[in-house]
Amino acid sequence: MKDTLFSVLDKVKNLGASYAEIRAQRNNNTLITLKEGQVEAVTLANETGAAIRVLAKGAWGFSTTNSLTRGDLEKSATSALKMAATAGPSVREPVKLAPVKTVEDKVKLAVKKDPKNIDVSTKIENLLRVNKGCFGFDKRIKSVTVSYADLTTEQTLATTEGSFIEQQKMFVWNYTWVTGKSNGIMASARDETGAHGYELFDEEPPEQIAERVSKKVTQQLEARTPRSGLQPAVIGTNIVGVFAHEALGHICEADLTLSGSALMGKLGKKIASEKVTIYDSALLPKEGFGTIIYDDEGVPGQKTVLIKDGVLVGLMHNRETAAKMNTKPTGNARAQDFRYPPLIRMRNTCFERGDHTFEELLETIRFGYYLEAFRGGQANLDGTFTVGVQSAYEIVKGELGNPVRNAGISGNTLETLEHVEACGKDFGLEMGRCGKGQYMFQSSGGPPIRVKSILIGGA
């Protein structure tokens, strides 16, 4: 394999490539979905393919192949070179890459249980336990979908600079969607968990997942809608992560920053309350879905501090944006699979902890909201973010009150970060996926935080 890849790379280099990389993958996936306890299908998949990216005449060419033979790889590499040469003449500012150390390595994440050693029947059994737990929790639970996937990738990355990295990636993922109905009111809640190995269900038994998500549904059935407008709030660990990811994270992705995001020209400036420190890390927390040893350009995984005590100190880079901004790549280049080129993607994006207890966060609020769990988030480059809130509670005189449903929060990232008054000492981490033209597993998290005010909308 190694000889084949390097001989193909040598060939495109001799034909005029200034840089080229081959990312070859063999993927093995198992997917299972249960609807009301019926197995929709057990899916087994094998995929083989390679992504070839070539830099020539200052532009990128990209091509893919589903065969790893020397002949097919050469054909695909030549096509990628031709693509770069086609785009090249119209490029005004040629693409340059920040230098990186050449690496030869073979790495694996520490996984306790390889899903390939677990029987399909055991996998189904665990999902049936989630299903049973949900229906058993409350009579008002009417519909339960449990989706499971384990995805294993054996990846080989070779570059014309001589790097050769063999890396195994593994994701075990569980997604539960539960709907309840009572007196004509319908409510639903989602729950997403994951690990790098099948230890997922050891760390949290299926019944616990079932209880957590079912409880959210029944609470919503009894909930009222919120008061709209600017309100003080405590943002829980589940939402703080999605806020770090959506509101701040995306505009810190250097390709988006350079494209005119709200952070353009703000590096080194104070953009948030001094209580705020946010990082994106490939190393920590270890169990995070964004934990990687090397990114898909062969840059070692590392911790990148984005905001330190309120000051914007870093952005997330690939080799190209790092060169453009005269800095070092941060190891954020990630691709969904061999069908896609790597993009700047987040890993584990988290707020740093503070020193307040949860009660201390609540105690100064006379009326406001505790935003517990999210339903999704989205950001615009101008710094407008929205987060859908799946479950929330009123805060009345410093204590949790009635549950609230269908709240949504929105705001301007920088204004909201300025409004952070205090950070808690607890910490939560969410396993999630992010779409930026490609799907990517990542994590986000942090402590609960108190914000002076945030815009709440409700039906």
Partner: protein, 454 residues
């Protein structure tokens, strides 16, 4: 390329391995695209992706396997895996049988040989034309992201009931996201796109429109809170419906008790001016074809006619459970993990989801609003609650309408409401329709929605 023979071989293999029923889907695609980043052409890609998915059934146990290795050996191995998956599964008590053999409609204007011959050089030229058209509008515009893509796709589905469905399709799309900056303000990212099944590129129109939206979003003025009439652009309506009406009109959601429309066929659910169809056979429609992704003919399905609920969208599985007929709305792949189009069992999706146009001109629409807002795009629609229809979204871009005229852009504004209640409040529909995602619709005036500001 015709992969029908490959599919026949795969189902034969699955039956030999022990499947009682089997089905094979091959999706084979080629796309050429050029990407724009920060006003420049940056990447040119040439992507081939072909694969096969085999569904195998043994006594109600459903197994599925897929691979992108389209060789005799790969196909055989995948058939064997599908049977293995079926044996490992549990009986689905709702399973009836695979679709039956039938005739397919002829759908026009979905394939253009001109696009099969399309070259990367042509894609570069289209991108250049799009960028210059955007910059001609105003120097403050940055064409931040976008590109041109041409794709050619063949879909073949064969099953043990004698079904042999096949689509050959092409498409060409140009899209651009722009931002504009003044000394003090930055616009939201504004998108425009145009896609067609035949060779009909309109890069100048896309560039100009994307730029115009960004420029017109810079000057932000006052927004007022309260209940206002809203003029919804097709993009805003598409975003809201995608996560409310569309899931609720799916047969699986109805069957599972997750749709507000269950047991309500024949009831009024929308203003009497509202008629909604899904038409998978629409001439030149972006999602049109002869067959769906499990070999059932595409069709035109009435969903809401003059405000009355008429039907739901089905694939084979859910139609048989409900004693209905599949409406040819089986799709594959995608989902929350971005699976390839041959990479999953069927799910129900709309094709070309049409809101029938009204008669109002642009002026009449604005005058109907009088004092309210014009909403082009919304953010956060995917956070809506499909079961209840409750949504809460930020507006970007959006403008204030005063005395029937657009006056200024607004920022930091949300609207919250209920998508099902909203259908009863469509007071006027425009006469011009356009594609926005899978929606084909006119602009629509909603008589009242709750506007929340800072």
């Amino acid at each position: 390329m015709d992969h029908t023979e490959f599919c026949r071989k795969a189902i034969d293999a699955a039956v030999r391995f022990g499947a009682r029923e089997a089905e094979t889907l091959v999706v084979s695609g080629h796309s050429v695209s050029v990407e724009i980043e920060r006003g420049e052409i940056k990447t040119c890609t040439d992507v081939w992706d072909s694969g096969i998915g085999v569904r195998a059934l043994i006594e109600g146990k459903v197994g599925f396997a897929y691979t992108n290795t389209l060789t005799d050996e790969g196909v055989k191995k995948t058939a064997e895996q599908a049977v293995k998956a079926s044996r490992a599964s549990l009986r689905d008590k709702n399973w009836k049988r695979l679709p039956e053999k039938t005739r397919y409609p002829v759908v026009k204007d979905t394939y253009d040989k001109r696009l099969v011959e399309f070259t990367p050089d042509e894609a570069v030229t289209l991108c250049q034309r799009m960028i210059s058209s955007a910059l001609e509008v105003d120097k403050r515009v940055l064409p931040a992201f976008g590109g041109t893509e041409v794709s050619v796709q063949e879909t073949v589905c064969v099953n043990t009931n004698g079904v042999e469905g096949r689509n050959m399709g092409t498409s060409l799309g140009c899209g651009l996201g722009t931002m504009a900056r003044s000394e003090t303000q930055v616009s939201p990212m504004c998108y425009e796109f145009k896609a067609s099944r035949l060779y009909k590129p309109e890069p100048e129109w896309v560039g100009k429109e994307a730029a115009r939206l960004a420029v017109e979003s810079i000057n932000v003025g006052e927004a007022r809170e309260g209940k206002f009439p809203i003029l919804l652009d097709q993009f805003a309506l598409q975003s809201i419906w995608m996560f409310t009406l569309i899931p609720s009109i799916r047969g699986d959601m109805v069957s599972r008790g997750r749709s507000i429309f269950r047991d309500r066929i024949g009831e009024g659910v929308a203003d009497e001016g509202v008629s909604v169809y899904d038409d998978g056979t629409l001439q030149g429609g972006l999602n049109s074809g002869s067959t769906d992704m499990e070999g059932v003919p595409r069709q035109k399905t009435p969903l809401i006619e003059r405000g009355i609920l008429r039907g739901f969208l089905y694939d084979n599985y859910w139609a048989r459970i409900e004693g209905a007929k599949s409406t040819g709305n089986a799709s594959r792949g995608g989902g929350g993990l971005g699976l390839p189009p041959y990479g999953s069992v069927p799910a129900i999706s709309p094709t070309n989801f049409q809101l029938v146009s009204g008669t109002a001109s642009e002026e009449e629409l604005l005058s109907e609003v009088g004092n309210g807002y014009y909403v082009r795009g919304v953010q956060g629609a995917h956070q809506s609650n499909p079961e209840t229809g409750e949504f809460c979204v930020a507006l970007a871009p959006a403008w204030r309408i005063e005395k029937g005229e657009i006056t200024h852009a607004v920022k930091g504004v949300m609207i919250a409401g209920n998508a099902y209640e909203m259908m009863k409040k469509f007071s006027l529909l425009g006469k011009e329709t356009r594609h926005a995602g899978m929606l084909i619709a006119p602009k629509a005036v909603v008589s009242e929605l709750n506007v929340v500001t800072k």
